[in-house]
Symmetry: C2
Subunit: 167 residues, 2 copies
DNA sequence: CAGTAGACCTGTATCATACATGTATCTCCA
DNA sequence: TGGAGATACATGTATGATACAGGTCTACTG
């Protein structure tokens, strides 16, 4: 499991361990009851709406780094489930604002609780320093990944309005 | 980006950051040319065959924590691409052994190089201590996830032969 | 006001995966 | 030793998450 060459090859270790981490998290999400009422993508959308406030499909798709058509469908499903609501934007009538409903927030919190329990249990033997470091480093990695993605996308289509309606 | 409450809530931070990490890595894999000749699942299969040696579909599916039918198809594709070969097992004629071909190893190394470059670049501003810690902690997390998955699976179907032909 | 850009939706395609089922083979015990 | 059950694999079918292309309606701008 702990191949000695990685002691001296941190990049190689990160490379292989992140590969298997994604694999395992995918499998786990599929097999567990974590995402009973929303899928993983939906959960992230709900969290985004909760943290950043209501916004339109376009802004949500930019934030999630997903195609707008994908988000349209995800939001459609969640609307049927009663987890989000859509309000016509009277200023720009092409657009509508996606709002988290109380039920949506409830479901989101419940998934969050399950996920927190999972990760608390997975890291229960870690020192709190390790826990903090891992969170911090993962966050840093995310920021770099986002920057890189933005750079890639900007070579293709430039300009992204990112209009957002907070309420 | 760096919400202050996470300073005192490492689990919460891990929870949200891993969610977005998976999201971003998926997006990145889709958009980049990292997986030109094999997909991510295929790359992991090639790495597994390289590290653990040739094995049959069943053992591979256990190792990857995937359904055997999924692996059958993945291997089928890679065989057509010439990345793996299958040898009839003369002892057990139901089974055949999946072997990495030279071309497969070459492709695997090329993907590995690209991924290494990516992660080296993403973590280039990290201290080497941070790099090492991140790799170590991710590896630990993987082990815990595997153990948990094994526990879940064993409640459903018990017994897994894990026969493997090393050569 | 004409033309272009933007927001959204829908159709279609792809990929990765799982489950159910079928077939050939193996194993083991009565 | 011969059949029952287990195993290995393949195939059919389904689902979920995503992207891209194209259409419609609306907004903006010269």
């Amino acid at each position: 499991m702990d191949r000695p060459e990685h002691e001296a090859d941190p990049i190689g270790r990160i490379e292989i361990e992140l590969l298997t981490l994604v694999r395992h998290l995918e499998t786990f999400g599929r097999r567990s009851d974590l995402y009973a009422r929303v899928d993983r993508a939906g959960y992230l959308a709900l969290r985004t709406l909760d943290e950043l406030g209501a916004m339109n499909i376009h802004a949500l798709s930019e934030t999630l780094h997903l195609d707008a058509s994908t988000v349209t469908r995800q939001v459609g499903v969640m609307q049927v489930e009663g987890l989000v609501d859509r309000r016509l934007d009277r200023v720009d009538r092409r657009s509508s604002v996606v709002v988290l409903t109380p039920a949506g927030r409830r479901i989101m919190r419940s998934v969050e609780r399950k996920r927190r329990r999972l990760f608390a249990s997975l890291t229960k033997d870690w020192s709190s320093e390790d826990q903090e470091n891992f969170g911090r480093l993962t966050a840093t990695l995310n920021v770099s990944l986002i920057e890189r993605d933005v750079a890639v996308r900007d070579t293709r289509h430039s300009g992204s309005s990112m209009r957002r309606a907070k309420e």
